[in-house]
Symmetry: C2
Subunit: 212 residues, 2 copies
DNA sequence: ATGTAATATTTTGTATGCCGAATTCATAGT
DNA sequence: ACTATGAATTCGGCATACAAAATATTACAT
């Protein structure tokens, strides 16, 4: 087996993102590099490198002399992010091979149907949703676009833990996923792309009330 | 006057990008951190921070143990970037205040007409083109989107110096800009957005032959 | 008591140093 | 002559050390 050898900065970045998912960090509060580095068991150098990448992705803010802090959440920014991801994922569908889309349609349908069954834990649901979108975009031939989508979605993880509870929206989410998959199966990619954009906009509106 | 106080990493990033515009760096060749740092008169630390940022924007690549290199150019990647920027700028138009768009239309028209006059120097032309697009997007209310566009365009700077020479494409570029401005003046934002997307796709095709 | 100035402390930003991995060059064996 | 193996060297990754800025604290004056 090939043993894992990746830069510390990447591992740190992922650790910070997953802590973010758990809602560990209070938005807007400053990050103390020394204490966080000690907590993670690394030195400040790779930590700062991770912080800088996260700042580039919009997860963090920084100001001269005051270091980094988790960017505060806002309805406005969440709307902006959703609009962006909607456009990007829609473009990704356009860049995909229609034949491939048809071939994955059954799996997408199946995944969408499994959705409401295991509403056990929050983390599971998010994973499930990500998995669905990843599969949807798996046929996209625009590599740069996929990277970009991943990066923008990282900026949305600050909002992830706000979804907790409330099952009703999930069923609608699943219904919309089914709808998209059906369009793909029927070989109507344009309609699927439109439904995908709608899905993001609807999901945004469902979230809005939960954001301060 | 408020004296400029910005992190070194940002100044370094911009210096590297402007060197890129001048075609100073051969794509694909490895970067030697120590010598580049010495050349810039800074230490490796802020240089690496700038390199990491640029890698996040797709300007550089990095592999474990081999450090950073300027990502090689390819027709494929250039097409991918153009498709992305076309979609993003189009979205930015959608997010703009129609009234504001109408109000800047005359200026956009004027700028587009000035275009072919001063074909003196390459740098001037690029600045001019950037200025036009910046003005076009100046009414966009999606801040995150504007940042993202800036970031993606940074990744396109590797292709900038390939445009040198050849005036014919520039006139077509100017004509397309005029067309977009006219749609805005006529209060037809949807058609303007379509023309903008066409502009990027056409510009891409004009460039294609120049990329190895 | 409150505001301000001077100082101390904390924390970021930058520089330097060390270690290990990766590449290169040399040498030996086929 | 060519490949393979090992030594030497270069270079990136990470840690540590230092410098500068910002914040907190205290003393003093009004």
């Amino acid at each position: 087996m090939p043993i894992e050898r990746r830069p510390l900065r990447e591992q740190i970045r992922e650790e910070l993102l997953s802590r973010l998912d758990r809602g560990d960090f209070a938005a807007g509060t400053d990050i103390n590099e020394a204490s966080l580095a000690a907590d993670l068991g690394v030195s400040r150098t790779p930590l700062r490198e991770a912080l800088i990448t996260l700042a580039g992705e919009g997860v963090l803010e920084s100001t001269q002399g005051r270091g980094f802090r988790f960017a505060p959440v806002s309805r406005r920014e969440f709307r902006e992010l959703c609009e962006i991801v909607a456009a990007l994922e829609s473009l990704a569908l356009d860049c995909s091979d229609p034949a491939h889309l048809r071939s994955i349609a059954p799996d997408l349908l199946k995944l969408a149907q499994d959705f409401p069954d295991n509403v056990a834990e929050q983390q599971i649901i998010e994973r499930h949703d990500d998995e669905w979108h990843d599969l949807l975009l798996s046929g996209c031939r625009n590599e740069r676009l996929l990277d970009l989508i991943t990066s923008v979605k990282a900026g949305m993880r600050r909002y992830a833990h706000l979804i907790a509870g409330d099952d009703a929206p999930l069923e609608r989410e699943a219904a919309e996923h089914r709808r998209i998959a059906e369009f793909l199966q029927a070989d109507e990619p344009a309609k699927a792309a439109q439904a995908l954009r709608d899905n993001w906009i609807n999901g945004m509106e469902r979230m809005m009330s939960r954001i301060p």
